[in-house]
Amino acid sequence: MGKKVLTLEALLAKEIEYRIEQDDYKEKQKLPSERELSAQFQVQRLTIRRALQTLVQKGIIISKERSGYYVAPKRIKITVNHSGSIRTVIEKMGITSYVKLLEFEKMKLTERLAGKTLLAENTEVYHILRLRYENKTPIGLEKSYVVCDLAKGLSAEDVHNKSLYEELKKKHGLTIAHSNQRVSAVFANGLEAELLKVSLSTPLMKYQGLVYDKKERLIEYFENIMLPDRFEFISKR
């Protein structure tokens, strides 16, 4: 075969990743020590250490000082093929979720928001700002603009620690038919840093979307700022 295509450490990293995927090493479980792994794979300890470092950098395992390596907790999976509620996903994972309402007000679309939603400037919307918690840790700041005409009388009580989409369906007969979404990376501003308990300018995930009902009416525009290490997007076709 001549020259090596991949380094030994790259191959080892993949072998260990495979074991994690196969659930040989389970979520949050401690991995065998560097010494044990180097014996198992019959390689030098330094090579194993480098392989483990690769996995730490990719967020697949976590290194705890004086303790060892642990499989990282599972991320919250957002399936992009259908727009479900994040809450349902989180609860299915057996995690306690809480959404705290920070702001709820009726407002008129600003020029910037009108541009994003293609609605007329001054269209009345409910502006909802919520902070999502996983167990007791804030993981996402969720900003949402819901068109007033389609959800008349929506109140703060309706969206505090409740699924917005379920409320819209139950009380306003609005069923989500499709959405356009986008994901990008941004840097934490003062408000985001404070609420999500990260340092200023920490890279965060920005998840935006336009949500429509069956009649092609725009129901909602959302802008979520999320901790990147708690989420992943999955798609299957």
Binding site: M1, G2, K3, V5, L6, L11, K14, E15, E17, Y18, E21, Q22, Q53, T54, Q57, K58, G59, R75, V80, N81, H82, S83, L102, E103, R112, I176, A177, H178, S179, N180, Q181, R182, V183, S184, A185, F187, N189, G190, L191, E194, L195, L200, S201, P203, M205, P228, D229, F231, E232, F233, I234, S235, K236, R237
Partner: protein, 248 residues
Amino acid sequence: MTENTVIKEDPLYIKLEDVLMKKIEAGDYLPGEKLPGERALAEIYGINRMTAKNAINGLVQKKYLYRVQGKGTFVQKKDFHKLNLGFLNESGNCGITAMVKSQGVRIANKILTKGTLPPNDYFCGRLKLAKNDPVYSLHRIRYGNEEPIAVEYTYLPCALFPDIESFDFKHVSLYDYMEAHKHMPVAFEQKFRIIPVPQKEAKYLDLDQGQVVYYFEFLGFDENGILVEYTESFTRTDKAEFFFDTNG
């Protein structure tokens, strides 16, 4: 809740950063436009020069601005022409090459490594092959307009592409090659994350430690449902963003 009751006041330079970012986003300062100097900014906003300098430094680090030695600070061009890479979807050829071409970017590749791998459980497992079936590996840096956009590690089953060793993917598009063998991927299963850029990929993508990348992992299936590709990619966040549509 008002910001002031719960939220600490931001330092002045952060406030200025915010103001400038909004102006850039709103197009008050256009891509490629020269920004007023530190002294001018300090005068305009009634702050001291050090504060203006800190704000500019912050925005250079965030890639909103870039410096040209001896000339000044300019609004970044590429942020506002991010490639729309899309989530790979059923619409067919979604290789970076195809998407980038349609957006008028010159694409180039650098091959980091290529060849048939020694037997490895992971890649055989991923491609649903029998243990010890040969897997071809192709690692590339993808450039758009001479700047690195992504590092891609692609793995293919050798059995489907027996002559793959004789092709040079510096010049041949991998998807064109796969199509010629009637194994072009048309359906995908994928995973997408944002992660801190790992050391090795930081070097390839010309990024600093602490910055993040889009991490993509996907399986590609041809029109007969045969698993033909496993790819891992690391993409610069200032060069691309991902769009997708959902139903139901």
